[in-house]
């Protein structure tokens, strides 16, 4: 696995970490932020950060020339 691919996968894992594995720690009503219950705010926030994470992944993949290698 090339360094670019590893970095891309790291970026790609952000939604999984925040939206799945963090859920036990954010399952709470308060504090309410922007009028939203905390749990819903957390989810919305990371949903909206995901395009940014994928943008980072895209940059990481594109750096070494335009073709990325996907070795075992």
């Amino acid at each position: 696995m090339s360094k670019g691919t590893a970095r891309a996968l790291l970026f790609g894992s952000i939604p999984f970490l925040t939206l799945v594995f963090c859920l036990p720690f954010v399952n709470r009503l308060r504090p309410m932020i922007l009028g939203l219950p905390f749990l819903l705010f957390w989810i919305l926030f990371w949903v909206l950060m995901t395009p940014l994470a994928l943008f980072g992944a895209d940059r990481a993949l594109r750096k070494p020339g335009d073709s990325q290698e996907e070795k075992e």
């Binding site: 891309a8 996968l9 790609g12 952000i14 939604p15 999984f16 939206l19 799945v20 594995f21 859920l23 036990p24 399952n27 709470r28 009503l29 309410m32 922007l34 009028g35 939203l36 219950p37 749990l39 819903l40 989810i43 919305l44 990371w46 949903v47 909206l48 995901t50 395009p51 994470a53 994928l54 943008f55 992944a57 895209d58 996907e70 075992e72």
Partner: protein
């Protein structure tokens, strides 16, 4: 004739006309019909994929769950986002394989990767069996929306039959391109409807989201955190369900197949990057469900919450507008579902098992006929065995998600063997069916489909490892037995 009715009929016929028009100048081949000639740019791909994700379920199921179950409904916002992240990495590889081997469908992919026609037939059958409830769900949702929105002027039955005929017509003539163009109408209508209602309803009754949520937290404490109003959908259930459906989403044969229609791998990546913004309308749909719980508590069927509160709040013509958005929202995914189900049935079951010599033209002809057949089957189910909306979808998800190990291991792990994938897939599908139908879903708090998926992946890996070490001693120096194609590695 009431205004609502006129608006609904206009929107539905207009959409069908656009769908018919889209394929007018195309010379129809299987390639043009199923994968749009692999020429879709970022805009059409985005509309098409959004069209597949935003179904009647978005309107009715998500608000219905917000109403009757509370926080567990948030999984819907999560799983879509996970699915886009998965698609960013997996879909471009699938697309490359599709381009190189001229693949049209998901079973084609399995045949090319694992060199087994019978595996292709197996995958195709699971696909068709999972698609039918999904299609049924669209038809039922459409019937419900149109009946309520037209104030009973069009009953659910005739609404389903009518839209079913129109959808068949534009799928028959224009194939995937027709569906993508109807998706344009659908997206405009749906976003407008959800935007107006989602911002409007909490504001009208409570002056805004903040006050609405504060009132909800007082009157229904616990509704806004897991497990909400349920007893068996706690955090672990949400985590496992979001993972299962997030990994499974692009394994739906119709979504998987749509990936082939992109004009480049880069188009798909860029699409994945912008898709998460499309989750915002779902948030608005939640708001509608939550407000409905405060304003109209005690509805018998939570799936009606969205429509009931719109009916109570807005003038009749607006109800017609929501009804038309709902109807077209059902028609687009129904079109893509039926298109791929019929291609699976003719190309990957009929030709693979009974008529290997059949030409592409003959398969295209048969696929177009099969459209009617599959729609009729879903129609029959929708009219005879209506079921709660979300449950149907979850059963389908349990089925198609089981393709995930076969696809992803097949793409990125050279050693994956045919035997491993067959064993894993069989174990996963059987286990999911046993758990769901014996009433063990959730199983130990986890989504049953997720348990099945984990077993499936484990079996696939173990059997592949075992097969590999045996294969090595049998034929030294050769390429790995089943790996026909090396785009996959």
């Amino acid at each position: 004739m009431n205004t609502a009715l006129i608006i609904i009929l206009t929107a539905v016929f207009l959409s069908a006309a656009i769908g018919l028009y889209a394929g007018r100048r195309l010379e129809m081949s299987l390639e043009n019909w199923t994968v749009g000639g692999r020429r879709f740019g970022i805009l059409l791909i985005w509309l098409l994929m959004a069209g597949e994700i935003y179904t009647t379920f978005t309107f009715l199921g998500a608000s219905g769950w917000a109403y009757s179950r509370g926080a567990p409904t948030f999984y819907i916002m999560i799983y879509g986002t996970l699915a886009y992240a998965v698609s960013f990495f997996v879909l471009p590889e699938i697309w490359k394989a599709g381009r190189r081997f001229g693949l049209h469908t998901q079973p084609d992919f399995f045949v090319a990767r694992y060199g087994s026609r019978s595996l292709g037939v197996f995958v195709a059958l699971i696909g068709v069996i999972s698609i039918i409830p999904y299609l049924q769900l669209q038809l039922q949702g459409l019937g419900l929306i149109v009946e309520v929105a037209s104030d009973g002027a069009i009953r659910s039955g005739p609404a389903i039959v009518g839209s079913f005929l129109l959808t068949c017509a534009f799928v028959y003539t224009s194939g995937l391109r027709g569906a993508a163009w109807v998706a344009v109408v659908k997206d405009v209508l749906m976003i407008a409807a959800v935007g107006v209602v989602g911002f409007g309803v909490p504001r009208i009754y409570f002056g805004g989201f903040g006050r609405m949520f504060r009132t909800l937290a007082e009157r229904f404490p616990g509704h806004l955190t897991f497990p909400g109003a349920t007893t068996n959908m706690d955090t672990v259930w949400v985590m496992s369900t979001a993972l299962l459906t997030g990994l499974g989403f692009y394994m739906w044969p119709h979504v998987f197949g749509s990936a082939f229609s992109a004009k480049s791998a880069r188009t798909i990546r860029r699409n994945a990057m912008i898709m998460p913004f499309y989750q915002i309308p779902i948030l608005l749909v939640f708001m509608v469900g939550f407000t409905a719980l405060l304003v109209l508590p005690g509805l018998k069927n939570g799936d009606m919450a969205f429509l009931e509160i719109v009916r109570r709040t807005y003038p009749r013509w607006f109800m017609g507008f929501v009804g038309s958005a709902g109807a077209v929202t059902a028609m687009v995914p129904a079109a893509v579902l039926v298109l791929f189900a019929s291609t699976l049935l003719t190309k990957n079951v009929y030709r693979a098992a009974f008529a290997p010599a059949a030409s592409e033209e003959k398969i295209l002809r048969l696929s177009r006929l099969a459209v009617l057949f599959i729609m009729a089957a879903a129609l029959l189910f929708a009219l005879r065995f209506p079921n709660a909306l979300v449950n149907l979808l979850l059963i389908g998800y349990d089925g198609v998600s089981q393709f995930f190990p076969g696809v992803v291991l097949g793409l990125f792990w050279k050693r994956t063997s045919r035997g491993g994938v067959v064993a894993g897939l069989t174990a996963g599908v059987v286990l999911a069916a046993v758990l769901v139908f014996s009433g063990h879903d959730p199983f130990l708090g986890l989504n049953a489909g997720f348990v099945a998926l984990a077993v499936n992946a484990l079996v696939a890996i173990l059997v592949s490892l075992a097969a590999r070490s045996r294969g090595k001693t049998a034929r030294k120096g050769g390429r790995p037995g089943n790996c026909k194609a090396n785009v996959f590695v």
